[in-house]
Symmetry: C2
């Protein structure tokens, strides 16, 4: 990336942080963010992908929603559960991977309703909805959230409260035990 391109990307990210912070995820728009950064909306998409991807970058998440979708939904439908479970631990096993998510949960537990509302909108419309659209079926939003809930619960007991034996179980064993459950939730 040239210096000029890097400066443009930085300006877009700064505008995105302001917009998401002031308007929340749902009401902020790529068009408005582009205008605030003085660039064309197409350039925002070019640099950052979807609105969900831009939000993820703005709050320093270690993964982009588009990357999750591409990884999990490439391949056999029978492997959905294993791919999502493996991807989840690939992120959470690294301290710098899990920290942004932990920060959001910490805020929610601490009653930071403003920060939580923005993150909740992102989770519902930026993460769960696109996954549910790929999964398909009327109750896909419920099933996808139940799958996420299972992984979140493991994360809380393993990384936050550190309850044995799950706290130190090898990732391969966690994946082996959890993948069938995630698969059943997703595949209905």
């Amino acid at each position: 990336m040239t210096d000029r391109a890097a400066a443009t990307a930085e300006a877009i990210l700064a505008a995105a942080r302001t917009a998401f912070g002031e308007s929340g995820y749902d009401r902020a728009t790529i068009r408005g963010i582009a205008a605030a950064a003085g660039v064309d909306p197409a350039l925002v998409h070019h640099y950052f992908g979807t609105k969900a991807d831009l939000y993820a970058r703005a709050i320093a998440l270690p993964v982009s929603p588009s990357e999750v979708i591409a990884t999990v939904f490439t391949g056999d439908r029978s492997g959905l559960g294993e791919r999502l479970t493996r991807f989840f631990f690939g992120v959470w096993e690294r301290p710098e991977g899990r920290e942004p998510f932990l920060a959001m949960l910490r805020g929610a537990f601490g009653g930071n309703e403003r920060g939580t509302a923005g993150f909740r909108q992102f989770v519902v419309h930026g993460m769960l909805a696109p996954v549910a659209a790929e999964v398909g079926g009327d109750d896909a939003p419920i099933r996808v959230e139940l799958a996420l809930a299972h992984l979140v619960g493991i994360a809380v007991l393993r990384y936050v409260v550190a309850v044995e034996p799950v706290a130190t179980l090898p990732v391969d064993e966690l994946v082996r035990r959890l993948a069938p459950h995630i698969q059943r939730h997703l595949a209905g």
Copy 2:
């Protein structure tokens, strides 16, 4: 309960809070707590049940571990998942039922390692171990914790982050969707 019995129970609870706070769940003993309260250990059991039950009362949990075991393990083994899931929501649906658990999770997220260590010991040795003993099998401790993790994850998304659609799903539908997963974890 007579005034005198109530005063004795209060003295035991006060001694228990001190002992659990100073020594943690694992190292505190019924014998030591009884001595500090100036009563016979048998009286502690008579008033409060097991050490796990006494700990639960001392930190104002709305349920006693013995009550959980009795409820979940009375009846057909094929109904374990449904009974545990229903019992869980019976406690968590009431704000005063979930608050003590939320306070513990809030402390864990906030880095209160001292409070978390005591609670972790209670969860592992006072809750998971007796359930695992009933469930049976070498890997029962893992399976019971995975079942708990699923329920904890639902609780975080439903009651703390309030992510739809799970945040407002009727309890009966939650139980219907989750019980088979909890059953598979428990029954192996």
